[in-house]
Symmetry: D3
Subunit: 240 residues, 6 copies
């Protein structure tokens, strides 16, 4: 099967890195197609950039020329998953929700460790909408931006492990979700430092998408995610 794994920002090196993480966990026979939006911010760290990414991701998927079996939205705490579900007949999996449901099979409560303080409320809001906040012990920020994560992985591990440790000790988390696509390479080191399972959203989403496809399940079209009604659009889609 073929899975589109769509980055939310326009940094191609991140798309490559996300694609590699996805491929690393994919089952034999699963083809991972990493996709970068045609427009938007180099990194997504707030609502303005996230709403723009939502539209850019939808356009990237809508105009993807080939066929595919499921789509993974590889942004943590970002807008847009519901729109993809309307547009597509195949399953759509958001990595924020994928990580949370995976974590909930592993411990009584989980925490998310993300990048900047300002993105904490976005993640909390997405988890609230997804109905997955009840067993969330906390969402904590390492204080490192998306781009800093890429540039200084050792400092990133330190900062993330520190917050993960606080989540376990103070917030009573038993599992940690790494709340950023760019954090996946750090999983092993954080496990070593905290002694609890560490969940990567991209990997989780790949296995969930594969599972839905294998079971022949896809988005319900009966109400919320029915296809958009036919109607006139002004100046959209943008001319290429």
């Amino acid at each position: 099967m073929r899975l589109l794994v769509v980055n939310v920002n326009t940094t191609e090196s991140m798309t490559a890195s996300i694609g590699a993480q996805a491929a690393a966990v994919a089952a034999p026979g699963t083809e991972i197609v990493p996709l970068t939006p045609a427009f938007g911010a180099e990194s997504v760290e707030g609502n303005y950039e996230s709403y723009l990414a939502a539209v850019a991701v939808m356009e990237a998927v809508r105009t993807y020329p080939g066929s595919f079996d499921a789509v993974i939205q590889a942004g943590y705490g970002e807008h847009g998953r519901e729109g993809l579900q309307e547009l597509l007949d195949v399953p759509v999996v958001d990595i924020t929700e994928a990580a949370a449901t995976t974590a909930m099979f592993l411990g009584h409560r989980y925490s998310v460790v993300t990048t900047l303080d300002r993105t904490v409320p976005l993640i909390e809001d997405r988890l609230k909408l997804a109905g997955l906040l009840d067993r969330c012990a906390s969402v904590r920020a390492s204080g490192m931006s998306v781009l800093e994560l890429e540039q200084d992985p050792q400092a990133a591990v330190e900062a993330i492990a520190r917050e993960a440790g606080r989540a376990v000790a103070d917030d009573r988390a038993e599992v940690i979700c790494l709340g950023c696509g760019g954090m996946a390479g750090l999983t092993e080191m954080v496990v070593e430092r905290t002694g609890v399972p560490v969940v990567d959203g991209v990997a989780s989403a790949v296995t969930i998408a594969e599972s839905l496809v294998r079971m022949g399940l896809s988005t319900s079209k009966i109400r919320t995610y029915a296809p958009p009604r036919p109607k006139a659009f002004r100046a959209w889609p943008p001319s290429p």
Copy 2:
């Protein structure tokens, strides 16, 4: 003071109608500037269209050439308010939230009557995020689309009054919010039919925006709605 009242769809006649409603309630000295997005759907009835509207509304406000004191997002249950709050230093008021908080001063529980069944979950989700769901008795659909509302106001009143009546009798609502920009002209007739206060989101939002400006209050910039960080964008904003 000058208030931008931004339609979420690209139907100019609706922008005019929303602008008229806003002007009707505005205080002396308040100038209402109705705005239509430069791109997007003629009516917004689902997540795909709503995410697109979020970006189009942000672009419309971001590129508005004049000065203004507050912005009203005049779409019911739509995405995007948080992005506007990041972009702007002036207050942003969403009509969904304006209607709900107004209703909560008038009765023990309120219901929303909206257009199509498929938009009910969008409104519920926006109220959930806003923390205003606790006293919401129900969100009900009249079954009429945004455009049908405009074309057959008499049928619209019938359909809306019927659902409002059920909300009062069966869901124990004591106040009704009209869940669509295009419904505002029908307020009086629905009051007559149901005997309960009927709240219009646009009018509520105008008074709230005026009040915030008068009190010298605006969006907190300390965390969630801090200005976007400086960063590179690919192919955005769209060239005119």
Copy 3:
């Protein structure tokens, strides 16, 4: 229009101060009528005094000889708003709820800073009943009583700014509500110290009451706030 602004305690100087705050924000053409209850405690800091105030406020409003367009109950976290709504045909606005809904338009989460530790649960309970607790980060006490606030404004600013700072840093509040009628004069200083918007309940309530009147909206009479049924009372109202 004429707004009754009713103090909950019997200290006339506070009534005057509340009236002045209300007048400062009132629109041109709005007449503020400050009212002091005929009986009750010099300051209200607990349930016994608050229940007594609820009845005294209702009596003050019920026996007010003139006409009026709306009533503001100017006590933070106090009982009684529901009773006023039953008695009156005009809108009733409680400052606790007015401050909270105003704050919710300004930031992701808000905190309340009040006077004594013992009043924290009263405020929490009123916000819970009002369905406005979901985005409340915390209710914190400055440790200063209502009367101390009046006597030593500088110490009050220190104590309030300290707790407001903790609310922002530790509880992740983005907006502060000053949880006492007597705190309104301190708004500006607390803004300077914390860098977040500070909401005053009396000012908020005035603008909300004006807005409701302007929109022609008042309390729903269909169920919870229907007028009291005709019945016999023993020894009440008290003879003058």
Copy 4:
């Protein structure tokens, strides 16, 4: 031990009836002292009357000349319990909460059947404040007023049994609480008609008050229910 059982209305025959119910379940050695407030409504069916009752009940208890070991507030869904807890060193038990906690030992979910539709929100609010709403399936109104209950017990049984039956069948209640002091005599007949346990608030409250006294437990005085602070009162207490 001596228990004060305080009626919330001023109808002496109801006080007597409540006292009789209390005495019927009281343990040997427990003396029941029924008390009628000195002022207030002949029946309490709404917020205005309930706030007045709160103060009247507090005055009745505060001025009771003898000693006592606990107080029962015998009004369903009424205000005031927190004030009594501040004033007294002995336990205070509200019949709404007593019935709910008792019901929760008997079935998975319980419903309350009360008198008039307008009192339903008052009961829901008191249960919400008490944190006892989670397993409440519904609060339903029989449509009969407090005084009608007394006058036509046969019609009362019919109306109550009908709503209790709906609570069991439609709302999935497994236990019924009779939501009015005046309903206690009907317990047996409602059991026969519905086949589920029926809980009387007055009886429940008596056993809980006795138990607290027997265990040497009383209200925590550390914060919320600390004694009122010493302060000046204007024109209160009312001169006799």
Copy 5:
């Protein structure tokens, strides 16, 4: 009346101690019958042991040769109460729930202080199922195991008083529940150290069971706790 008080572990000395606590608070005429399960762990501190205890307690009660009027499950945060309710016609009272409801009559919020950190989530889960978590400020662990409690009561008091103090100061608890059958003897000392009421689950459960019996109330048999349906069992009950 005769109450079965069933220990959840197989340590006879604990059964005796629990029985003594129960007897100390029992009303004249109440006979306490302490029961030890025939199989299971010497102390119950986790889910495996607790599930085993659930079955062992049910077997102990099911095979008890005499008659009895109510059953008390004397394990804090343990599984099994629902099964007993299915098997029996008489009331079943769990000490976790008994303590919580008792505490809720005494203060605005309560905390539980239990033994080991690992049992905290079990208690939280049982309170969540019981719908009694809303006013729970925290569940805290003293760090001492069940058996250590018995061996070193002085150290136990120190550890429990320390956590109780934190619950009062940091979590805003106003009442403490001792979260372990074996803690009952320490009540008085913890009261002295914290100044707040301390609730013992066994004592609470005895008074509640007595009250239910006295009011003629027992488990609703209409749905959740209907008797098990007749069916074939393999290899169960175990041969003696």
Copy 6:
């Protein structure tokens, strides 16, 4: 990899059927080992039987002679998953939770259709503990027992499709979970009748268990699911 799929009842034909369903969805290379408990009820429909099953399932897994990579507890709404998590180092997946999280990727809200009315509260309770109730529209009973399902599949389809239809129309579900191991064969027919995705718990659990194993994730051992502490057991495990 090898997955133990443990039936909760002692009917071997059901074990076989569950095993077949699991095998049908298992990835190449996954070996399904169906297991029947050595003791317990022929079908599990209530708390007594479910608690017994919890212990029997733990014994079956604990004494399973071979190695395995994950365990699936194949009972809907049953007790015991937490105990297995303590005992094992490999992942444990409960089919109730597996179905719910799968459904949440497919639609805005889901409903469960189960067998008997009396098991509805058990399923609701397990979903509440798992924090998966927020987007659950309803749990509905078909009225057919576990054994009737096996005997009359055509009537089962009718009854299930009827309740599924009501869940979609009345409760606004967009996805249906079949709430019983024995229902899996009916999936396709229910899809045809309702037009919404139908999720089978066993299939979902198999894919989730495989995914966890593939990602190298297992139960957090840091607190709630730490291994049982070493201690003495009386008369347990039962002698063979």
